[in-house]
Symmetry: C2
Subunit: 269 residues, 2 copies
């Protein structure tokens, strides 16, 4: 039985965190580089994750927490019990350079399996959540799964660096599709798959905080979320991921397996 009290708390925390992020655009932010100039962390990434960690510690001290910024200093080494996974700002580069096109992602797992996922498209005031066994909601309204029948009749989403180097045989997907879109935030790209704006989301390597909420939302919508080898995702490590409805997910896995000559790439791609 899903814990609706916990769910209600999460909704309030997400709203509070989103409002703080919107307000932070009014002032100059402290920004640091992580691995390189394109991999940024701001004071708001840290403050947002700290906020969630404190709330979880207060109400659910026995739960485990995985967060992008590592605010929780109790590393998770097994996924038994309840595990929270937090990405305080997905798309930090967009947050800094565009002041839009970023998301908050949060997910709840029980013994390694997804129970609920939350993605907040902050600047559009769009909150998506999925409860496994119940459904997916956009701003509390049920989202009907839109059944795309084939990749050839649809757009796909992923990042440009991946396509530019054909990483993970990604051009096999691109050439089969009507074209790709790249928003610079997994959060927004996953939303576009849930809404049926794109058939498939593909990435060659995502951290658990990047895929956990999407995995739970896919599960709740009856979509598939696996590695390209059709393996179950693993909360404890970086994984390549394919998200989509069962039909296009199967088609994507097949396409990614085939290494053939890449066809012509449409100019509108």
């Amino acid at each position: 039985m899903f814990d609706y009290q916990m769910h209600s708390r999460i909704l309030v925390w997400m709203e509070t965190a989103a409002e703080e992020l919107r307000r932070s655009h009014q002032r100059d932010l402290k920004i640091e580089e992580k691995k390189n100039a394109a991999d940024l962390v701001t004071e708001m990434d840290k403050a947002t994750e700290t906020f969630f960690v404190q709330k979880i510690r207060e109400h659910y001290p026995e739960h485990q927490i995985i967060g992008e910024e590592g605010i929780n200093d109790d590393p998770v080494t097994d996924v038994s019990g309840t595990v929270w996974v937090i990405d305080p700002i997905d798309g930090t580069l967009n947050f800094v350079k565009q002041k839009k096109n970023f998301g908050i992602m949060l997910a709840i797992f029980e013994d390694g399996l997804p129970k609920a996922g939350y993605i907040y498209d902050v600047m559009n005031h769009d909150l998506y959540y999925g409860i496994v066994g119940v459904g997916v909601f956009r701003n509390h309204q049920i989202l009907e799964p839109f059944k795309i029948q084939a990749i050839s009749e649809a757009l796909i989403v992923g990042n440009i660096g991946m396509f530019a180097t054909n990483r993970g045989n990604s051009l096999a997907l691109l050439t089969q599709s009507l074209g790709a879109r790249a928003y610079g935030a997994a959060a927004l790209e996953i939303i576009s798959v849930l809404k049926g704006e794109a058939a498939v989301y593909y990435s060659c390597g995502l951290q658990p905080w990047d895929f956990a909420a999407g995995w739970a939302l896919c599960e709740a919508l009856g979509f598939k979320a696996t590695t390209p080898d059709n393996q179950t995702l693993n909360l404890l490590k970086r994984c390549p991921v394919v998200f989509g409805n069962p039909l296009v997910h199967a088609e994507a896995l097949q396409l990614l397996k085939e290494t053939k000559e890449i066809g012509e790439i449409n100019e509108n791609s």
Copy 2:
């Protein structure tokens, strides 16, 4: 002296057309393929262009009109006098598949030179216009040009097919930047350059209706809009285009000229 009566009329026509496009999402649309399955035209592309052509004919019968859908049956072979350039729906594939991320673009030229440009981000209710010699406005508020100093500190925008095939040496730009974003509509990508969310918009081949409004808006903002060879754009033919502020535009032209080994492509690109 700019014709503000004409400008006011255009604002009303853009609002009317945008409202019709939003309303059209409520019903099934007739959709046809042009060159291929990714190159669509809907009844709304045609209806919107027809609407503008009729209005222009009514008020300015002596003006020339270039439109994507060729509704005006009087082909333009020289650019003397006043020429209107219309893209009734830029991003038709998004319009069909996403019901968002598309724009209306319109521009006014005098003897081949831009006088005013209009881009309507329809679903976000954001109307941008630029009057050469006056400035650029977003929903009637002046837009201050945001001076990006170098491509290395910024995002760029363009289409994924171009980067995936390194068309026009585009990877030289991508690797120098913090990453690229691709929205599937020149209209939205040009807006992101005007707003300073991205440094440079690059395309290896745009039709006049795809670049005319962006050219006029760049001119009005003090930005540069040329071919990669620094040639003036030509309303009568397909051109490769580079848009950006003078600093990053010059840097982009230099980068696109150099054919060197492509550096590492960042995973966040």
